[in-house]
Structures are given as C-alpha cells and as structure tokens.
C-alpha cells in the first residue's frame, strides 16, 4: 500500500536504511548541511591541536573544556533565540557581568541566601530583556542600537554595583561554587543518563513512527531508528567513559546540556517555536497569519537576557568571584560566534538549539588549545576571528547552494 504522502509519482522511493543514507547525502549536496560543517571543523581543529600539543585531547583537559563551555554556552543559547527572529543582542556580555556583580553583592555583601541572590540576578536579566523588547516594539529602534547602548550602560552599572573594591570573592563552601567547580556526576549515573538518552530517542522515534503509520503516512523503519539510537549510545558511552578517566562529567555541563534540550523542544515542538521561525523567515507573513509578533519579539529578548544572566552566574561560580572584568573582553563575541558557528543564520529563521552546544565547543577548543600552547591572547583572538569568518563563509556558500537546489 502506498502511504498518503508518497503517492506522487515524481517522488523517488527511498525506503529502509539505504534510503535514509541516500536522503542525508542528497540533502548535504543540496546545501542543507545541518551540523556537518561544525563536526568536520571540530575534527580538523582537534587533530591540529592534538598534533601541536599531546595534552589537548587528554581526559583532564577535555573535562576542563566542558566546564569552561557551560557559562558562555548558556549565553550562546540566548543568542540563538534572538538570531532566529533576525535580531541581535550585543549586550549579553555586559548583562552577564552585571548579573555576576549583583549576585556577589547580594550574596556576599548583603549576606542574603544564595538562592535569593540567584533569583534576583535572573529576574534582573529578564527585566533587561523586557525593556529592550519595549524599546524595540514601541519605538522601532533597531535591536543593534538598543543593545549597543545596553552594552555600555550595563557595563557602567556593573562597575557601580561592584563599588570601589572592584572584586568580590564568592566563598568556596557555598553550594554555587561547588556546583561549578567540584560537583561531578557519579559514574553510574552518567552511564544511566547515556542509556536513557539513547533509549528515549528510540522510544520517541518509534512512537512517532507508529502514529504516522496509523495515519497512513510514510514512517521510518525500526532498523533506521535502532541504528540512530545505537550510534548515539556508542558516542555518549564513549564520552562518559573517557571523561570518567579523570574527573568525569560536571553537573554544570549537564545543566547546560539540559537547557539545550529544553530549548530544542520548545523551538521545534511548540507553537511558540514555530512562530519564532516564522517571524525570522517573514515577519509580514507571520503577522497576517495571526501571530502576535510583538509578543514573540518580547519573549526572545527576555529569554536572551535571562540566559545571559544565568551565564553570568555560572561564570562567577566557576571563577568563585565577580570582578570588573566579568563578562567583558571576548565573552560577547564568543557567545555570538558560537551561535553562528553552530549554524544559526544571521539573517533569521534558520538554526537550532544544538548549534549553541556545538559552536561553544569549537570556540572553547580553540581557546583551550591555544592556551595550552602558551600562545598569547593576541593570537587567540586572531584564530577565533578566522574561524568565525570561515563559519560565516561556509554558511553563505551553503545558502547559495540551497538557493540553486531550491531549498533556501
């Protein structure tokens, strides 16, 4: 029996395992590269850095890399959201720094409970995003300019909050610092997570396939689903085992990955996510379809600033201090670069939450590898810049290829 969606005679029938593989190859040829460039780039970078310094791929260094990724990675997740609607937030670095400063002042200076200090920082982040959204929606100021002003203003506010001392240390015995530096997932639990993830992928895929079959639509076969889950399981088990050679998987990294998964669900499986992509693709079409465009803009600006605040808290916890340089320097550009390297289009409407995860690992790999080589930060900046440029070039070339293959 021919399924409902396969009746057109022009469709080539691609079934089973072979069909699935052909589909992937075809799509990549047509410029729908997905995560392929990032993964290839990551392999190249890792190979080069490993040859230059054999410590790079050691378990200890990779554990460090995961922990270092979390803070800026969370910020990059917010950047993905604003880029999806075709806007930008240049102030995430300053907001993260301000959030760290507020946390430190409330927690250490005012002796408030840590959860209250965290909540205050996060709410402040959300409030900043809300103000941006109001300025954008009501006055039509470009987000580029609003957030550029925010970058300066909140940097100033951060310096003011920190006061004359300029640096506040967070106590080591607080749960927050332990969370960022010392808390690792026990080995058995890490393996359980890996198995659960692969199992979950298989079960959700299988349920979906069954539902499609019942509705008379074509569905992925069990072999394809099983192979996909098995591949994920092997990769995750290997990662857990290799990181487990030294300290293991940090809770902070698990927290980051969990946020990525949650955002992935919201972006791809909810009405809100659809409207975000729609606004990024064609605002006018979204408005005529009855989407509350202003609410969508508000939600992404609030999300971005909130994630920036959370990232600032994680960074402060990792450093066990908030100071005048928190969130300054390359934090801003690293977060934006991570999102772009992860395949989020600067023009809106294209990208995934996983892009933030992959992108930040690329950025942190370069940073960590060059630090291991004892190279000056001057060279680090240059290399990161070149990689960012390469990522954008790959994106543009893929975009052209998509246009010529009619995939846009």
């Amino acid at each position: 029996m021919v399924t409902t969606d396969r009746q057109d005679e022009r469709l080539q029938s691609r079934e089973g395992l072979r069909g699935a593989v052909t589909d992937v190859v075809e799509r990549a040829r047509g410029g729908d590269l997905g995560v392929i460039p990032v993964v290839v780039g990551l392999i190249v970078i890792w190979t080069v850095l490993q040859i230059l310094n054999p410590v790079f791929l050691s378990s200890a260094n990779l554990v460090n890399l995961t922990l270092e990724s979390a803070a800026v990675g969370v910020i990059a997740l917010g950047i993905v959201c604003v880029l999806l609607v075709g806007e930008i937030d240049l102030s995430v670095g300053s907001v993260s720094g301000l959030s760290a400063a507020v946390l430190a002042v409330l927690f250490v200076g005012q002796d408030l409970p840590v959860w209250l200090a965290i909540a205050a920082s996060v709410i402040m982040g959300a409030a900043i995003g809300w103000v941006y959204a109001q300025l954008y929606n009501r006055f039509g100021v470009p987000s580029f300019v609003i957030t550029l002003a925010g970058l300066l203003a909140f940097l100033g506010l951060q310096l003011y909050v920190l006061g004359t001392k300029g640096s506040i240390n967070l106590p080591f015995d607080s749960g927050l610092v332990a969370f960022a530096q010392l808390d690792f997932v026990p080995a058995w639990l890490s393996y359980t997570f890996a198995v659960l993830a692969a199992g979950g992928l298989f079960v959700s895929g299988w349920l979906h396939a069954r539902e499609r079959q019942r509705a008379g639509l074509s569905a992925r076969g069990v072999p394809v689903l099983a192979l996909r889950s098995a591949a994920l399981l092997v990769v995750l088990l290997f990662v857990v085992w290799y990181l487990g050679q030294t300290r293991g998987v940090g809770w902070m990294f698990v927290f980051f990955v969990a946020l990525v998964l949650i955002m992935h669900y919201f972006l791809s499986r909810t009405k809100w996510g659809r409207s975000v992509y729609a606004v990024g693709g064609n605002v006018e079409a979204a408005r005529r379809a009855g989407i509350n465009v202003r609410a969508v803009y508000t939600s992404v600006f609030v999300l971005c600033s909130t994630f920036a605040a959370v990232g600032g808290i994680l960074a402060a916890a990792r450093l066990a201090a908030a100071n005048q340089s928190s969130g300054t320097g390359d934090v801003n550009l690293n977060a934006i670069a991570a999102a772009v390297i992860g395949g989020t289009s600067l023009f809106g409407g294209r990208g995934t939450a996983f892009g933030a995860l992959l992108g930040i690992i690329v950025i942190q790999s370069i940073s960590s590898g060059l630090t291991l080589l004892n190279l000056d930060s001057s060279i680090r900046f240059v290399v990161t810049g070149v990689v960012l440029l390469l990522a954008v070039v790959v994106d543009s070339v893929a975009r052209k290829s998509r246009t010529s293959h009619g995939r846009a």
Binding site: R10, G216, A278, G281, R407, A408
Partner: protein, 273 residues
C-alpha cells in the same frame, strides 16, 4: 475536512438569488485622494467575480477593506444577510472571508505543513504534526494540487505551487468567500492554468470567489461576472458570457466613458443586484 461544502452542480448556473457578500456605497479616502467612491459589489456562493481595473482604480483598496486591513469611511457590508463591520484581519477571518494576498505571505524557511497551519497549529504545547500532515494532504488533494511532498520548504516550490499553498491555507478556516489578489500575476503559462483550475474547483465547492486580475484571458476563462472599477468608481458589471474583451477593456480605460454608456452600466447594475 468539513471546511469545503459540496455544491450541487446547478448552483453556479442558478440565478443569483441572494449574495453571500454585498457591498453598498463604499467610500474610502486617503488624505485628499478618494480611493473608492460609492462602490457596490455582489458575490454569491459558487460564483467567481472578477474585479478588474487600471492601476489606481481602487482594486487593492477594495481588497483591503474586505480583508479588514482598512475600514471603509462609509457604506455597508452585508455578509450572509447581516450587516457586518470588519475592523481587523482576524475579524474577516472569523466571519469567513479569506484573502490570498498578491505576495502570498508565506514563510520560505518553513515547509508546506508549517505554512498551512501557521498561527493555528494543532496542540500548541506538543505539536501534532501527524494530524497536521494528514489534514494538509486532504486539503491539497481536494484542490487536486500538484505538490509532491509537504515536507519541503516553500522556497523550493514553483510560483504556481506556492499559490496553491496560499489558497489551501486560506481554506483552513472554513471560509464562505475567498479573495484572490492577482493570483496569476507572476506565473508562467502552465502554472496559470493550474491556478485557474484551482479557482474553478473553489467555485465547484460552493465558495464565493472574488478575483482581482489584470489579465483579460484569465478573467474570460474562469469568471462568471466582471466588475470594472475606474478611478475609484463602479464602471459597469458584465456577465462574462455576453461581453467581449474589447468591451471590458473599454470600460477599464474609459474609452466609452460617456453619458450613454454610464446609463447602460447603471441599468446593468440595477439588474444584477
């Protein structure tokens, strides 16, 4: 799908006993410019009314009034024997007046299903894409649409296929009247034919269709009635069956705009309404 009612085949031929949508004395000014002056228009179920006119004749303004983008300054809109106001696009949609704009308003980065259900997704917190895909196929099959796969981005579809998607989307809300703004303007010969087939299918399904067009061949091919606008005023309503292309063009350009023809137009209008 319950959104498209099956019409009996006689309905299109039957005399217009009552209009599903009628406009009377519509005025609209933009600043000092009178875009529409005292415009009347009638559409019955299962009838295709072509609205033609030169640039600046007020066709787009008329569409915008019906779709709720601009409210009229004065005049009445009667929909299914009730006098209605259409202050917003959502209100038009709720009444059952669907508009396919000239630029189609599709999101190129989304696929066909996502575009069809944009803004009215099934199960907002855990999208039910199986139900949406099944319904998409039903809709497209009803229109005999030639779209090989609904899981490709709209960017990869041809102009005619995009027009089909836009029309299919307007059918989702169970409309009684569908307004097509220049549906064949940017299309090739074959694609135009596809869209014209589609318009005929809409009529067979018992919808009232208002088609804005520049193309006389298209108008002659599918329309039942032609309403000519000239400089914001009615300039004649003709039955397509007994009017020549030259007559329509004369009405559009105003070549016959004299006292005699105005009297004729008025009497024709009087008969048709």
């Amino acid at each position: 799908m319950s959104s498209i009612r099956q019409a009996d085949s006689q309905q299109a031929d039957a005399p217009r006993a009552e209009s599903v949508l009628s406009l009377r004395g519509i005025h609209k000014t933009f600043g000092a410019v009178a875009a529409l002056t005292d415009v009347d228009l009638d559409v019955a179920a299962g009838q295709v009314v072509a609205v033609v006119g030169d640039n600046g004749a007020g066709k787009s303004t008329l569409v915008k009034i019906l779709s709720g983008v601009h409210p009229p300054d004065s005049g009445t809109i009667t929909f299914e024997s009730r006098e209605v106001h259409i202050p917003t696009p959502a209100a038009a949609h709720k009444l059952g007046i669907a508009t396919v704009f000239q630029d189609l308003a599709l999101c190129e980065n989304l696929n066909v299903i996502q575009n069809l259900f944009l803004g009215q997704e099934v199960r907002p917190l855990r999208l039910n894409d199986v139900a949406m895909e099944t319904r998409s196929w039903e809709l497209l099959r009803q229109l005999s649409a030639k779209i090989p796969s609904v899981r490709v981005p709209v960017a990869s579809l041809s102009g005619g296929q995009r027009q089909t998607v836009a029309i299919a989307r307007s059918l989702l809300g169970d409309p009684k009247v569908i307004i097509l703004d220049e549906p064949t303007a940017a299309l090739g010969v074959a694609q135009t034919a596809e869209v014209l087939n589609l318009v005929e299918r809409l009529r067979e399904n018992g919808l009232g269709v208002i088609m804005i067009s520049h193309n006389m061949a298209d108008v002659k091919a599918v329309a039942d009635t032609v309403a000519v606008l000239r400089l914001g005023r009615n300039n004649g309503v003709f039955d397509v069956a007994d009017v020549s292309t030259e007559d329509i063009i004369a009405a559009i350009t105003g070549a016959t705009d004299n006292v005699v023809s105005q009297r004729q137009a008025r009497s024709k209008e009087g008969l048709s309404s």
